[in-house]
Chain length 217, copies 2
DNA sequence: TTAAATATTTAGACAAAACTAAATAATCTT
DNA sequence: AAGATTATTTAGTTTTGTCTAAATATTTAA
């Protein structure tokens, strides 16, 4: 698997997790920041290699083989994120980009030794589960802040968007994994949400709310 | 700089260090395991980018810019080797191949944080010096075992060939960095050398002797 | 249910990095 | 110094992954 092929597999994997039906060429082009025609080309190649199953005009799905490979890349990505944060003192908004490179290093031994060195972490710095060497991981049950109920108390267990900008926003507002918050008010007009934590009230936009994952406490 | 370009720079760097005069197209082709015509193509490209200076039929030399870049790649390679050996418990014959991949990760912050995490090591597991973040490193004065003098005592400070096969040979014969040995006899017929260490005598071939670096003790 | 809009695929090109085969330059022999 | 050998470069292809533009299929809307 080349770097480009792995990135496509990963993108298909993420899109499958978001909406559970077939992945369209256009969605994939959007995700990969490329053109639909390029996507068609690559999908054909991946289909040749039995990594995806593809019916023209109907989108792609990962094959068993492709799924397994995507999970391996995701495992590496998340392990490196933990390494960068815990061992090299990167901040959580810095880990993603470097992990995008490190996830393509090919050495099963490296991956497994790294896993051991980090003491077999279960989640990465954004709250996403880390597959073990067999590809198994615990699914974390989480609710988006947009779906949280007024009056209840939640703890933050993850983020959807792991872009540097979003994570810096959270840092600036002292929100992180483990932050416990109460839903004060959900504003129907613009879907913003007023939350309270550490004795401070904060109104966050719908965009922020959509990207924050919570668990009831 | 692409991966291929970086590998060429590194190869030119190594060849310059070995013989101090211009690097020939053929030597580079041999080092890169490729064809002379491919080398000419790439050299032209690197000359365009001012990474090397190139006169047709006369070989290449690294420019200041190319040299600095090569040193950065070497720095990353050697730091990762230390990481793999010391933190992930790889053996010294396993570190090279994985480091060949890791050396291309682009993040100055990663490199410098890794350096710090490893406590600023001065040499890698094969005895080669590690450049600091400014590209400076201590040159280690060393003699090849072929040039060592009968009767004198030396300590092993490095290896020339860092191939897995050679390092495994050394492991099997209990030779490593720091091994102190006495030169018992140099056989003129085949340039083999009889050495003694840990109260055992061992005859090594010219090929082995050439690749072992020693320092007088 | 046909026209318009949108999504997808095909065809043809391009850049990077390699290759083979042929041409040319440099060096070595005698 | 001419011919032979060796080293190097040039010319023309190939593969990978991308692109644009054109063609085709699908969906939406009147």
């Amino acid at each position: 698997m080349t770097l480009a092929e792995e990135n496509y597999l990963k993108a298909i994997y993420h899109l499958e997790n978001q909406s559970s039906n077939e992945v369209s060429t256009n969605a994939l082009a959007e995700e990969m920041q490329t053109k639909a025609s390029s996507v068609t080309d690559m999908i054909k190649k991946l289909a040749e290699k039995n990594m995806v199953s593809y019916i023209p005009y109907q989108g792609v799905t990962l094959s068993k083989k492709g799924h397994a490979h995507a999970v391996k890349v995701v495992r590496k990505h998340r392990l490196w994120e933990v390494f960068l944060l815990e061992k090299l003192n990167f901040s959580w908004d810095e880990v993603h980009d470097v992990a995008e490179q490190l996830e393509h290093i090919k050495s099963e031994k490296l991956t497994d030794k790294l896993d051991e060195f980090l003491d077999f972490p279960k989640v990465d710095p954004h709250g996403d589960p880390i597959p073990d060497k067999y590809g198994n991981f615990e699914t974390i049950d989480k609710t988006s802040l947009t779906d949280a109920q007024e009056g209840l108390v939640y703890v933050c267990v993850g983020v959807h968007d792991s872009s540097s900008d979003f994570l810096k926003y959270l840092d600036a507002n002292h929100i992180g994994l483990g932050t416990t918050m109460k839903i004060i008010h959900k504003e129907p007009f613009d879907n913003s949400v007023k939350i309270k934590f550490d004795d401070v009230e904060l109104v966050v936009s719908e965009n922020v709310a959509k990207n924050l994952f919570l668990k009831t406490v």
